[in-house]
Amino acid sequence: MHNLYQVKHELWLDILFASFTIENSVIKDRLYDFSMIAFRHLKWIGGDILESGDDYNYDRSKMLLRRQSNFEILNYLLEEIKAAQAAYTPSTLTERIITDEAYLVQYITALLENSNNDAEVTAFDMHRTLPNKTLDVVQTDSLTIFLFEESYKEYELILVYAYMQARTDNLLHFNVFQDLIDESHFHLKSFGNMMAQMGILALPRELHELTYKITDIEKFIISGIKEEENAKEQCKALSDAVNDTELSQFFDFINYQENYHIALMEKLLPKK
């Protein structure tokens, strides 16, 4: 079961990062939707594993390989879906997963039949500019580091909250974790697409179990609130630093969202 969880975890990331990498907004959005379906598969597989008395972890073995074209990415996805299906054993859940993936395969196959869907990939070439934006070196460096830090952090939060959500019987906690997971998905999507636009798309680092096996939830939440406050400061600093109204508005928007994350996280603290 461990292997199935890891395979599905990696497939979720494959689809998600394919969505970030491809510039065509129609294909990008469609792949993103499929990645969110794959994430739900992952959640359900994890639930089944726990119900059976087994456990899973967040180990990964694959790197994000740099691809030169949309078609290279799409062909890679087809191979990875096929490889993942070899790990499935018959169940109601895997039947559902297989039919979802069959539809994704049909979609990708249709894309590959039209050469207009192919294009050069610039998500990994490190050009570090944004379309129609003029940032100086200091602003570009600040934005670069911010995106690396925060994309990792959002990926970490998605997985840590999902890990805790899968193990709680407390309905309030379950719902708060779901809200926080949904919010982090949106942030990861925003940052991932911006990283691809700048040519610095990179897979977030693998999580070590010290990160997600939480023994003291109160300490974890208090530390998490401090991190949110730090992220708010980073957003504000970037918003002030970038000489661009659109970017400033975006970082202010993210900053204000962090306020409510803190309020949500406080709901997880024991009442005193």
């Binding site: 490190m126 580091i145 911010f146 693998e206 980073q234 600093a237 630093a241």
Partner: protein, 153 residues
Amino acid sequence: MEEMDLPEGMNPEVIKHIMYPQNYGKLEHPDGTGVAMDEKTNEFVIFTVKLAKDGIEDINYATNGCQDTVVIGSMFTEMVKGESVEYAKGAIAKIEAKLGLLSPQQKICADMVFNAFVASLINVANLAQGETEEMHVIKSEESCVIPEGKTNA
């Protein structure tokens, strides 16, 4: 690592280590496991090492820390893999020579990396003496806190 053309600004080598950290993860069946832990922030660096007669056969690290920690861990493991333990003990100074003078913040990150490595060697020694510790932990005295408005690296 593969050479690429990069714009001015951040050290190109630093960007490459962030995008593709080297020796990242954990080794299966290591000879030693060491952790540097900051209990105030819950940040950690963990090393797994395999030693051979003449030095470090294999080495991996992982962290939930900042990008400076990622970069220094990646550079450190790249430098010491296949080298003697004595060489590894001087590797942080070599990184400093390579990157330029480290900021106080980066020094804290470098200490976390080095302490986790030292902890893994202590774990090897403790296990050799028959102890059963799963990993050796060194608690950090100072925290890596990025000042407002500043980005590291």
